[in-house]
Symmetry: C3
Subunit: 294 residues, 3 copies
């Protein structure tokens, strides 16, 4: 089965065809939508990405025809690099709280996980930090066998991850492997990600797009109520309570505000952070270069 | 170690040697019982199967000598196909509630999971829908490496699975893989079932019977109290509350009663449902043939 | 990266360099400590081991500089064999309750799991019974690919495991695999342990020491607060309540006190228990030799 060609968005409402800046939307059919991250050079997540994703999740929640949303990336090396404050932390703080009452980024992830549609992360390239938090909030994760790098490097720069990976990874891969991912804070390649349950399964890179397309097209034909109700019963068992997700972001802000962490972040920027650099390609291994010698 | 030869049931009480119609019982020893599903042509589960299993679980619960029950199949291609209403939904509804107060099928599964014996599903062939729900209620699942097909196809016919797989799979294989099994609703082969934790592990088809026999014979020799108490502590952590299991069956009934779903079911029957047909052999893939074009 | 050479403990306080009898301590740096079990002939755990571990955990809890503790074994065939009452159950009972109010052994495990440091079990050889309980209380478990044997054989001698493996395994590997490990009570080799999630992952035996050293040295450089707080959020989701851990030890004592179990234990001692014997090397398989014929 070949990938569908880009549609003319003719199925989407006006809102869906708004001009997005950090991703493209292809409303393949009323039941099926594809979102392609496209924010050069490495798909960092910024305040703009969060605001656009919040708007997108609003649309997803309110669309009675939608069964499935696939999230993929226009950049084969970077799915979603990580969060970039763009030298202006104020823009992120200014996003405020979302409809759940949680801060914007956490709110987007919570609402996506609970939405009555099937969200699929089709992963090729790197997804670290907030990028990893995003895929953990999707329902299904399919990843390129040859070209996947996941990780939560936050502890390596002296902060607590703020977007919920303790809550989600602990439930998904169990205590030991969650602690390894979070506390050793190194890169996880595809085969280890599959063995740990960090992703559902690997698909050969050359077949990833077609197989995800086939899955999405299948789910698009199913009855919406059957999908939504069945998902809701799994939600009851597997989703963290909102109360579990608020505090870590406070820790992140407190710890990141320290002088030493600001210095570490500045050093990483000198080394190539937020650009298509060797540092970004090997961030898990090289993160220690930002730590001053004891 | 070779499989034991069929016993004369001399160890069983009168009740155990009652004449069963959808399975055979071999009481290998006071501590060990084997139940072989044998309901041609494809081991569908019907109101009769449920009633007989309810009676069997009564016996299991009350037998102070019993340590282990193995469930296998006389049909190498079908372990337990799925539920068959046999064109008479009234018979299933008439089963009423079991001792737990839950509807008969859910009651059987809940009581089997809590019984103070080790239940082992020795899986060869297909176990879908209610057949998959049955193995999920067993304590241990060993499966043929070459010849295992599992799945919950219910969402593909527009209904919510009614026998608890949302509650059990979510705890067994984690959110992402549970959602894939339930919402993509496709067949899962042996290797994927093992990787996901849907079964304990695979055993080469030619060794499955002997290895399960060896495990059961071993457990049969253990102290009953040690087994029962140890299991009860795992139950505390891993079993869903009864309250989690009642509502999905209501959804199943409501959604299945809709005209479109009745039409889908009728179409599947035309295509070979409930018979040893290509449809039944490839039900996961072919289920979409019952969905009318949008 | 090569293993560090034994330090002179110059970084440790007086307390750390106390003379330990069942393990050696190497305080590689203020942030990193290595503990090597060395209690010939097979690293059994006795009342002395428990008392020393309790003292060690006190030190770990109170050390603001410590980030990571690695536990390995001086004996390549036995990591920690299992508990040995040394013909004097009174010594174990006399240990009383620890700071958590739980009995000494359970208390040590609970406090280690909650300590604000990363504990790593670097496993080579056998870890059964209480030895398995110990590694389950560590945060990360890395194991020799070629030379790992894990198991909870307790049910095979007619008792309930007392140190919490029902609570920990059920959360780590899921219901089915936890019940298999606990109720079939047989040995689990490295590859199966990795597949089940009983360990984080396997490492080739020849690379185990260097890779664990590399991980520990990395974690030693991280910010202590970031590690401790991130771990605490995983603890919230994954650690059993204390109340779950007290009762099974009572069952253990009650069941072990029975005449039949005392006789089984005596028979095992005749067969070579607590010595570097074939029985100890194949304890999972041979445990049934201690069960009288029915």
């Amino acid at each position: 089965m070949s990938a569908v060609s880009p549609s003319d968005n003719s199925h989407g409402s006006e809102a869906w065809s708004a001009s997005w800046t950090h991703f493209r939307i292809d409303r393949c059919s009323p039941a099926y939508c594809r979102v392609t991250f496209d924010h050069p050079p490495i798909n960092t997540i910024t305040a703009t990405t969060v605001a656009e994703l919040a708007e997108l999740v609003d649309l997803i929640e309110q669309d009675p025809d939608l069964n499935v949303v696939v999230f993929d990336s226009a950049n084969p090396d970077f799915y979603l690099a990580h969060y970039d404050v763009e030298n202006d932390p104020g823009r992120t703080a200014a996003l405020g709280a979302g409809p759940t009452g949680l801060p914007a980024w956490v709110d987007v992830l919570v609402r996506l996980a609970r939405a009555p549609v099937v969200s699929i992360a089709s992963i090729r390239g790197r997804a670290r930090g907030a990028g990893s938090e995003f895929i953990l909030a999707c329902d299904l994760r399919f990843a390129s066998r040859e070209n996947t790098v996941l990780g939560q490097f936050e502890v390596g720069v002296g902060v607590v991850p703020g977007g919920g990976p303790m809550a989600r990874l602990a439930r998904l891969v169990g205590r030991g492997r969650a602690l390894e991912i979070l506390l050793v804070a190194d890169d996880v390649d595809g085969p280890r990600a599959e063995r740990y349950g960090y992703v559902n399964r690997l698909i050969a890179d050359g077949e990833l797009d077609d197989e995800v397309e086939e899955i999405a097209s299948r789910v698009a034909r199913f009855d919406h109520d059957a999908l939504a109700r069945t998902k809701s019963y799994v939600d009851l068992v597997t989703l963290p309570a909102d109360s579990e997700l608020g505090r870590p972001l406070g820790d992140f802000r407190e710890l990141f505000g320290r002088r030493a962490q600001q210095a570490q972040w500045a050093r990483l920027q000198e080394l190539g952070l937020n650009t298509d650099s060797d540092l970004e390609r090997s961030l898990g291994r090289r993160i220690v270069e930002s730590i001053p010698d004891a």
